[in-house]
Symmetry: C2
Subunit: 327 residues, 2 copies
């Protein structure tokens, strides 16, 4: 720790629908100080920023003051890298287009960069995690929903409007399961997410008469954790749920590979805790759907960033390459 | 033409399974001189290069000699940009890995760059065509097969191994139609290609009893041209074939948009001659499968490069940015 007083530091802020985590991070990806405030209790973004300014200000003082901070990186749902705005995020209390990066720059007098959470996760993996040194990889977050960040030629793909990388919404089964949030049928997210696993469990229980530990779970309480617990006890139906989920995910990964031909796909999030239960069918179906020139080349890796730190790290990583200039 | 004697020029070579087209091109995309030799009559790549050297040498002389030529760009099936090799191309007479760029550099003493035909087409559109000034777009060639080239952040995506951009092989209908070349089921190419349209016609004729002009066509003679001719005469079944093809293509385009969020998708090739017959359902199904943030933003454009020149232009465009150094 002898040299940390000379090191530059960055701030990472991860805004979620319920809470906002933030922390101060060094070059090696150590979260030196961190804390959390509520997102949803703030009806206006101004009151949110006021509380954040107070709480984060304390951490900045502990870290040696603003002078040591290179900038702020923010991961937020529907965050647009080009404009620094959050646009129509369904899970946040603030509606419409929120110029969040500008509001933070004005409040903290620090350059601020913003993108969506999955893109931030990808930059986090490239800066501190499993993708260090990679120029072509895809990050996929498998949580309540499915997010993705795509890196090609060493750069994140933001697309023409800043919204690239929505693999969770690509259609894998045309006319398949309805996604209540998007009103589209058969998207990856409607299957390969915690929510998707829950639906698959309920569907399979209804469609078959097969005996299963999951028959004891009341439908309202069914979730991906219950499916996991049954599967590790060898429950056939629970394993079929993972096989089915892995098939959909495998097709989606094959399509992504044939698009950008990454060195690796890095998975992060709740679903990956099922380990080989989900990874084995995913890998099998990915390979089975790849044309020959892509087969047996692409690594599927699990993120090794600590889950409690990952969101802050991802957001913070944005700030190292910050190009924003304070007006 | 007064200044052309001072202009630098490039060579474009498009290698196909049957013939190889080549020409000398100026900055504005004028093909000044061009010619063609047979590919398939050459059992070895050495004899192919000998004939090419003779034929192309004449054009170089007409253009004012090697001194005016900046370099050579080559579009070839399974062409790898990173290595300059053609790898296991099923439709070429030369098997295995062919170090084509190296062979051409040695023969012509000109720096040579190589990629696959669809990537070359994308660079051609960016250099001379509909994508001039665009930093994020996707080129899709709809011919006998389906090729694609993806540009993001102003750069072509080659991927980790040089083989990115195989949208034709992405799976749109899991368990769908078998592709005899790849042995995969339900890929875009198995539907949205001239070959795919032929199969859709044969399938629909068999599945229904509906009256159609196409019932007069012997199965062995069915092709996308016959379908087009019937459709412009108002034949309902022929129009259903385009509706079906456009639906598959529309889903594939939606998935591509949610991946890289391009400003435009540029279509090229035989299938686009059907105009709105194919474009209208394609656009409709693309929009219907996009989540809201992507809707009504992405242009679908038809390439306006002359079809006879396009392959040479695409290949030649590679040579303007050539980084290869002669050993």
């Amino acid at each position: 720790m002898a040299n940390t007083s000379l090191q530059q530091l960055v701030i990472g802020i991860d805004i979620g629908g319920t809470g906002t985590k933030f922390g101060i991070v060094d070059r090696d990806g150590n979260v030196l100080f961190s804390s959390e405030i509520s997102t949803k209790k703030h009806a206006t973004v101004e009151s949110f920023i006021d509380e954040l300014h107070g709480a984060l200000g304390e951490l900045i003082q502990k870290a040696g003051g603003t002078g040591r901070i290179k900038g702020i990186g923010v991961g937020a749902p529907n965050g647009n890298y080009y404009t620094g705005t959050i646009e129509y995020a369904p899970n946040l209390p603030w509606k419409g287009i929120i110029p969040l990066a500008k509001l933070l720059e004005d409040k903290f007098q620090l350059p601020t960069s913003l993108t969506n959470d999955a893109n931030a996760a990808a930059i986090g993996e490239m800066t501190y995690g499993a993708a260090q040194g990679m120029k072509d990889f895809i990050m996929i977050t498998l949580g309540t929903g499915v997010g993705s960040g795509i890196v090609a030629n060493g750069q994140l793909i933001y697309g023409h409007d800043g919204f690239a990388g929505e693999l969770g919404h690509t259609i894998i089964i045309p006319d398949g399961r309805l996604h209540p949030g998007t009103n589209k049928h058969g998207s990856l997210e409607s299957y390969a997410s915690a929510t998707g696993v829950r639906y698959t469990a309920l569907e399979l229980l209804e469609k078959t008469t097969e005996d299963s530990l999951l028959r004891k779970v009341p439908p309202a309480e069914m979730d991906s954790k219950k499916v996991y617990e049954a599967a590790i006890q060898g429950d056939k139906l629970a394993r079929d749920i993972y096989e089915f989920t892995g098939r959909i995910l495998g097709i989606a990964l094959a399509n992504a590979v044939m698009f950008s031909s990454p060195e690796a796909i890095i998975l992060f999030g709740g679903l990956t805790k099922a380990g080989d239960l989900i990874l084995k069918p995913t890998r099998e179906h990915m390979e089975a759907n790849l044309i020959q020139i892509f087969q047996n080349k692409v690594k599927i890796l699990i993120s090794h960033l600590k889950e409690s730190d990952a969101a802050i790290l991802g957001a913070s990583a944005l700030a190292w390459d910050i190009k924003t200039q304070l007006a």
